[in-house]
Symmetry: C2
Subunit: 210 residues, 2 copies
Amino acid sequence: MTHYDIDTIASWDRFHRANFINSLSGFKPVSLIATIGPDGVSNLGVFSNIVHLGADPALVGFVNRPREAAPHTIRNIEAGRYYTINHIHPDFLDRAHQTSAKYPDGVSEFAAVGLGEEWKAGFPAPFVEGSPVQYGLELAEVMPIPLNGTFFVIGRILHVFVDERIVGADGLIDLYEAGSMVSLGLDAYGTAMPHARFGYAKPDRAAVRV
Amino acid sequence: MTHYDIDTIASWDRFHRANFINSLSGFKPVSLIATIGPDGVSNLGVFSNIVHLGADPALVGFVNRPREAAPHTIRNIEAGRYYTINHIHPDFLDRAHQTSAKYPDGVSEFAAVGLGEEWKAGFPAPFVEGSPVQYGLELAEVMPIPLNGTFFVIGRILHVFVDERIVGADGLIDLYEAGSMVSLGLDAYGTAMPHARFGYAKPDRAAVRV
């Protein structure tokens, strides 16, 4: 094992450091977040810093970079309060990644990259056509993180769209079957393969695979 | 696509709802977080809600469940301020999952499940022996989330241990080669396979695979 201390890491050029630190936290649940602005222009961005917060109430958080670097998603959510999160499937990965390009104000990434808006359930934000797992949220809280100017945006889940054939009898969604992707660092993407599942862990016995 | 609204989801039994909502946010970067308490007893827990916050300063956050459900990790971090995050490899997955059992106060999960403590770099918290990617952090901030009683715990990365042969020329850590696992829901684990990597996205051209 090689030891890298923070002084060494801080001495690297910006891209080398970003690649290293962005891959350190592990594979990430990459998804597309869709919003619509007060001007009626939809917006679509690729986000990997998404985190499950709790099942009851059903809350999911994501990290929005500083406003100057990533202004549209957070602005639209603060104004409109509703947004959608959509898993990425290999079939449209190139278009999903392309939403990370800096398009000018007034341009919808949906149209620019060629992904379809799907409007449904009377929900006031678009879902991404073709995404195998889609959920719609209402803003619950924006927590500023003064340490680095980012924002932890927390939403309540209101609607979920997924093929019922991949929802198990116990409620688990088979994301392997869905084809949901993971990301690594800033620009790498992978798929996942099942390895093991366990019963509820108890102190008086070893782990039990089920 | 089947539509599940939040009223339907809320009507399910607790475990069905937990499995469903826990799998909704995608595959998760599961890791072991290690601490040591003021009483000298080490603690090890499996955490999947880990999120990259920024590369400069190098910050990583994780969600700690409410204190009554998961008291030890957050208590030890608040008291001692240093902790480690360690990726999980298939070779010790069963022992890693077993740390989720509720061991009584005074019992170290390291000893209980049979994982070794690795003390190094003069760092005041143990790393997990055999973990392919290990990093040591200093507490930066604990942000309570009143919405559900959880805590967003943010740390500054101080030390990283990883085999230099899996760090690319551009800084990206090859987590496929490391064997870093992902989790799905509460009790399922997978491995990841590389799919694609892209060049920096620009508005005036389509996505470029590299």
